[in-house]
């Protein structure tokens, strides 16, 4: 991707250079809620050589698909991207000035936070694992339950969620930043008007449209470089498309570069200790009172009903406990895994699928025991680590070594009896046998 500097980019550059002005009010060197400091994150970001705007289709994405994915009127121009970048790292968007988008979508942690669930203002914990913002712009729907469609829409919601960034109203957020000269100019340059909430969230979305990371060893292998994947990784790829049946829900090819079917499945992660029926009844009652976007957002993050997943959006019984198929891109650096961050390593993830998920009444029909051997599990995991963009190769290698070490110590999900169907999941659940 060639860096381009259209006239509008001048203001953008000015905005980035205005960081010291921001620092006058916010300590960019401080580390809050366990995230890397904004200063360190910005330094890491600079090394990733992102494009200045999101107008041109990134490598690996068809130009027509890319254009179609952009909301008309919200084209990610350089000025908007620059504005969004500043907002992404600005903790002033939060009620107590400690949480930015980058707190939970940390540049140095694969644009997530490497925690099971995220920490918001005042140390409050949510219920779900922060998905990476990398490639999020290409997903059909956002959040684990798809309660927002575009990144431009999504970006406005955590700011207002009481346990994430905690702002009470949109106006309050706008007022907090409107006084800063860099934003006055930034909004003017980007949207031709004064700061407002709709443009604020759209600008953050515009920035996210530059976070496309689809250049992995796997892609280079597909492009014709036979050395890009090692033998274990190649065996893993065979399993991925074959015996392990990953591709059923994680289609990963030229037409589907992210490795997600953009659908919702109950794979039983949440089923271990949840009464789905009871929760569904509570949710239906709660949504009858108020099914606004805000109510949904709180329900998803602050209550046990979070475990209902897609159901709270569709109220369709078939969606109980169903969560979005997460993309597999850069999966090596986004541990821990699943919607609740309950699995520590990719070995655990494969162990989960290998035993046929956690049986429950709503388990997706495609989830069945796979009878993968230990060696096959290792190969599959090796392949998954080959899906990380080469720009993130170094953290990917570190994560792989760390997970390998951890998996050697403990594999809490592994269950060969279930994997080989010596025992069936429903027998344990329904018939109460061992």
């Amino acid at each position: 991707m060639q860096p381009r500097f259209p006239p509008a980019a001048r203001a953008a550059l000015a905005l980035v250079l205005a960081a010291p002005a921001l620092a006058a009010q916010v300590d960019l060197g401080a580390s809050q809620h366990g995230a890397a400091s904004m200063k360190d994150q910005l330094a890491a970001l600079a090394k990733l050589a992102l494009p200045a705007d999101g107008l041109v289709a990134p490598r690996g994405i068809d130009a027509r698909v890319w254009t179609a994915s952009i909301v008309p009127g919200q084209e990610p121009t350089a000025a908007r991207v620059a504005l969004g970048r500043a907002l992404y790292f600005d903790p002033r968007l939060s009620k107590d000035g400690t949480v930015a988008c980058a707190t939970c979508h940390d540049v140095t942690r694969g644009f997530t936070d490497n925690r099971p669930v995220s920490e918001g203002i005042g140390g409050k914990l949510g219920r779900r694992n922060a998905p990476t913002t990398l490639n999020a712009a290409l997903l059909t729907e956002q959040f684990w339950d798809g309660r927002a469609t575009t990144v431009e829409h999504q970006a406005g919601m955590p700011i207002l969620n009481p346990i994430e960034m905690g702002a009470q109203t949109e106006d309050e957020v706008v007022q907090r930043i409107a006084g800063a000269p860099e934003y006055r100019d930034g909004f003017q340059q980007a949207y031709g008007r004064a700061p407002n909430y709709a443009d604020l969230r759209a600008a953050i979305g515009a920035f996210e449209r530059t976070l496309i990371f689809l250049d992995a060893p796997f892609d280079r292998f597909l492009a014709g470089d036979p050395t890009a994947l090692g033998t274990a990784e190649r065996r893993g790829r065979e399993l991925f498309d074959g015996k392990a049946r990953c591709a059923s829900c994680h289609p990963l090819n030229g037409a589907s570069p992210l490795g997600t079917d953009n659908a919702y499945h109950n794979i039983g992660v949440a089923a271990r200790d949840k009464d789905f029926e009871g929760l569904a009844r509570s949710a239906q009652a709660a949504l009858q009172q108020d099914d606004s976007e805000h109510a949904l957002d709180q329900l998803a993050l602050a209550t046990d009903m979070s475990e209902l997943g897609r159901f709270v959006v569709t109220k369709n019984r078939a969606d109980i406990g169903a969560f979005k198929t997460e993309q597999l891109r850069n999966v090596g650096i986004s541990a821990p895994y699943m919607h609740d961050g309950s699995l520590q390593t990719l070995w655990d993830v494969v162990d989960h699928y290998n035993k046929g998920g956690e049986d429950n009444a709503f388990l997706d029909g495609g989830i069945e025991a796979l009878a993968l051997t230990d060696a096959e599990v290792d190969d599959l995991v090796a392949f998954l680590f080959a899906l990380t963009d080469v720009r993130l190769a170094e953290p990917n290698q570190r994560a792989q070594a760390k997970q390998k070490e951890q998996a050697a110590k403990t594999r809490p999900i592994k269950d060969p009896a279930l994997a080989e169907r010596r025992v069936l999941g429903f027998e344990r659940r329904v018939l109460g046998t061992k």
């Binding site: 029926e277 369709n316 019984r317 009444a361 029909g365």
Partner: protein, 380 residues
Amino acid sequence: MKSRQKSRKKSGIHRSVETRYEASREELLRSLMNLDRRAFLRASGAAAAAALTHGVAHAHTFQPVTVAGAKEVQPFRFAYISDSHLYERKLNDRFIRSLLRAVDDVNALDPQPDFVLYGGDLAQLGQPAELDLGAQILKELKAPVRMMVGEHDWYLDLGEKWRALFGKDVYSFDHKGIHFVVLNSVVEEDFWSARKLSPMERMKTVAGLDNRSQSNFQVGGPQREWLEKDLQGLSNDVPLIVFSHSPLYHLYQGWNFWTIDAPEVQRILARFQRVTVIHGHTHQLLTNRIGNIHFHGMLSTAWPWPYAPQGLPELTVQMNRPNPFNPQDGCGDGEVRVYADGLVDKVYGLWNRSPVTVSREYMSSNGLLQRPPASNASTY
């Protein structure tokens, strides 16, 4: 919950013939009390013969009599589960899991349905172990079960095991103003004796698609006679709901989406103003109307069939091709909502998609009103 389970045990979910008889007699007595005098007089004359076939004769009523005129229908709903095709656990556990899912679905209905229709093909190859397994799972249902037989249950031992577990394969009952008839539409003429087929060979012949060496599904002469007698005393305005495993019309012979004497059965039903036929066997969204008879297919819990190659009845709202990656897509269970006018809305509770309701307005208007929205699922 406890008391419900207790009462279930007492009445038995697979009601015996005696229990059904008692229930229908109670219904009769109650309905007699509701009759105004004119309706009573109109009813009693035509009813005498019907009462005989119904087997109802009360010592303390002055004449053997049964209700013939239409009673007021109290709206209610019943659920359905169908075509589970269970194998033994060691051969296949997917279909077992699917049936369990259906049972969970139905048990979660609040309020509970009045009863659950099981639409036939509980077993895959008629094995006693398969039927036992199915009976064991169906016992988990909170609501009473009305059983219907399918060819996969029948052709190993010609229904011996099935009848031992569930009772009669052909029967009728009245419920809240509706007359229900359960048929065995998978009767075949003897194609096995002359060829000296073993029971298992016979079973597999019938279970196969496009197997022309078998006979045809039929209700058959004796059963049609029984049906005529069963309906004899009923006036034309009594709403009927008929359960049959195969569709009671001619759709596609190669797959037995076909009951060969269906025209004769339709002729028997034709005089009634409101007739609904609920059938299994086809494993798909399937809707048809012939005269006053509304036909609705049931979903399978095991697998969806593709549509037969020669086309579809006009009223059928097509189901998209199921997702090949999800074995439960296109499968499900559902419910039938009976209204005061004696007609029904048929709900297809698809597991992987939004439910589809085929309303009685849609049926009555020949598809002009309330057409169910097309599926929003992607096509594969």
